[in-house]
Amino acid sequence: MLRRFPLLLVFCTFLAACGPVWNDPYPASEQGRNIMYSAFTDRPKHLDPVQSYSEDEATFLYQIYEPPLQYHYLKRPYTLVPGSAAAMPVVRRYDEGGRELPVSAPASQVAMSVYEIRIRPGILYQPHPALARRADGTLRYAALSAADLEDVRVLADFAETGTRELEAGDFVHQIKRLAHPRLHSPIFELIAEYLPGLKTLQKALAAEAARTSGALDLERHTVPGIEIVDRHTYRITLKGAYPQFLYWLSMPFFAPVPPEADRFFGQPGMAERNLTLDWWPIGTGPYMLSENNPNARMVLARNPNFRGEGFPCEGEPGDREAGLLADCGKTMPFIDKVVFTREREGIPYWNKFLQGYYDASGVSSDNFDQAVTMTSQGEVSLSDDMRDQGIQLLTSVSPSIFYLGFNMLDSVVGGGPDAEAQARARKLRQAISVALDMDEFVSIFLNGRGVTAMHPIPPGIFGAREGEAGINPVVYEWRDGHAVRRSKDVARRLLAEAGYPDGRDARTGEPLILNLDTTPGGLGDKARSDWLAKQFRELGVQFVVRATDYNRFQDKIREGNAQLFFFGWNADYPDPENMLFLLHGAQAKVKESGQNAANYVNAEYDRLFEKMKSMPDGAERQAVIDRMVAILQQDAPWIFGFHPKAYSLQHGWVLNRKTGSMVRNTLKYQRIDIERRDAARGQWNRPIVWPLMLLAALAAAAIAPAFVHYRRRERATALGGGR
């Protein structure tokens, strides 16, 4: 029968291939295997560790590359621990005369800091053709001809792979790559401030790059300040004191890259085939990129050469009760393969998560109401539907801030050069800070997914105080154990003191008009703008939204032509320096092309910042930070908006998952209960066939009278008219 009906044969084959679950998007061969399924929205731009600087890319890179340090997976506040380093680096500080200084010595005395890093012996690279060698020890693919590359399309087309032990020279090679003129490392300028040898190297490499279009040989160059002590030890000498450097050592910018990789990918014909280090990373981490198709899917497979690492046995209070220490000491990674599928749209992503085809998901505004319920006390819990599916909700406050900045170069909100005008402008900014109810903003526009900010430092980072000591006294008062926003009357009084009683200039009678510069779809879009206008209206102030495209908005910020603007910052590392520098005078956007978009300059603040940034955490540093925060709260160059709260959902079969934006090498810690997942998928995705039958019946019902009609017409005669 099947032979007579080939379509039926195809259909039966199709159904047989689907197995008991028809809507499974993954191959049947993957069923029951120890694979984690995840999704990504934006394709990664860079996978080269000197270039990559975004969260999307970090998801992949941190699993592949092993910088010397890493964050402890469970401990909070975030704690650095050795990664590929054998121990925490030994840091020695010296004065101008070369005399070693004690740790407590003030930063001003420190002429140089020496970081000696010893790496773990025996670490191996992932199998990679760049490391394949012939029997005589020479590199197998170091001198490829055009003919050799004729049939090569992907990395797997190279028949042989090899590995070798990680060496200190690989870390040094990567530091040199920061200065590579064709790689455009985003942190080059920052690091070169402390490692001036990099600038010299870049000049030399730029001159070489101008002479040749071929690959640059970094091995021929040395960098003052970086030296290889022995096979497993290297030393970095920084100018002055820069304690935050340790945090940078936990990022892929400082992960090892073997020089063989640059030599391999730098050969003629490789880039034309999209075979670059930017596309095919080579690391020593628990996973390696086995499939790279960022249009559809990217796959991380277990690195067979990974040394194995024990699951941590310590955490913060509550971790043991949450089962996060159950795998204490067990060898990681637990998962064999991680499949990332590209989902450009939120709806299919969400539905596939609910079907069990993604192990975890975020919570977007579209599906917030379906996923989460809020109690009248503002507490968040999972909806019943989610709980019935065994889904769990994880929340954490992100080390980020979104703020409404005042451009201090603007004569109205900044005040100009005149001290009296500056004082009035300060009152104006304070009045607006009080009037704009950011608690309401977070509640309305973020479904409560944010913590109102009192100052730039997010909770969980040293320097952020809690309770009464942590409130912004200009905007809040402490009442009955709670921070209570000051009333609009306070805002009106401040506005009058600023010279704008009832929102009008006391001297000219002209209405006060404030302008928000924003981008369409940004934090200042229509609904939010309407809400802001309402807040300003209550003060009698006119509010104008000047929407423009993203590029022009950036131009306005750069040129200092904005007045009020929404901006944000995601911390690179958990140190108050990385937040408070956003208001440092030396970072002023217009004058210094820095990150201080408000162009705020305060001599005392700047002096304290310089002092604070090199201090070790402790009471003395806290006191300095308290003073800096107090200055900011009084000067109000920002309306300290909110610290976003990350909401993440996971199925019950995902184990050992802990939120924490700073820890990005998370995959090796996670585990999947495969049996539970397979059972749930089978139960949730039973195909329902009767609608197809119903459709067929309906079609038949529609066709039958038509067929009758057709037959009648065909048989009709001219006289009979078909009756």
């Binding site: 809507n23 191959p27 394709r43 003129p181 080059f188 329902i688």
Partner: protein, 325 residues
Amino acid sequence: MFAYVLRRLLYALPILIGVNLVTFALFFVVNSPDDMARMQLGVKRVTPEAIERWKVERGYDRPLFFNAAAQGSGQVTETIFFQKSLRMFTFDFGRADDGRDIAQEMRDRMGPSLALALPTFILGLFTSVTFALILVFFRASYLDFWGVVLCVAMMSISSLFYIIGGQWLVSKLWALVPISGYAPGLDAARFLVLPVAISVIAGVGSNARWYRTIFLEEISRDYVRTARAKGLSERVVLFRHVLKNAMIPILTGVVVVIPLLFMGSLLVESFFGIPGLGSYTIDAINAQDFAVVRAMVFIGSVLYIVGLILTDISYTLVDPRVRLE
């Protein structure tokens, strides 16, 4: 005919230069080379020096159209427009801002785009023509009336609704096919069933109505009356005679889109996770990647021109009276 095709191809050159010029001008009205550099280098910690280096390396440090600092012909040739456009006419698209070879990327993505677009095109055409002929067959009956109502209803609904509703109903509720995704080879079939079905359904309303109008016009011609007078059945009259004679207006709309099938569908590819050329264009626009946007617009123009020439050629095949001179 060869001379005609050659002449049309030569006419295409100024059109392509014009399209290239307009694309270039429009792109750089809203983006500057600095903006492109910032988009690539990221917004965190990007220094003016880094932006300058990026521009020099990619050739975006020159003036857009006229280089006053250069001498002679260099004033025109040492510009971004000239340098970036000339290679295009040899189909050398260069590299995307992320360093990937654009031609290779196009080749990789053409397959998935065609896998979606070709069955959609064929099935859509077959369904629409058949449905239109059935309506014409039952013209002036309740079936024709409700058929037209159905067509109007179907064409009034946004294609986004079909996509979201189809995914929810067929994949989520009935669990019959995957919601989204793609796999190479034969396995692609189960990912393509739903997007193809949705695309066909979303297009059948407007197409069937259009074809019905054409067929109705044709059916009132003398030769149809003659055919009926000869005693041919209505089915033979419609499917053999009317359909053949109505081909010219149908071909006008249909053949021109055949080459454009390579370009993919922006919306369907995006929602169904199909890694085709449509989503490539969207990605490039979002990333302000001028090289890719320009290449896609150029290829689109070329294919459109090819489509128009094919349309003209197809006229000669269905109507022997047509001569291309």
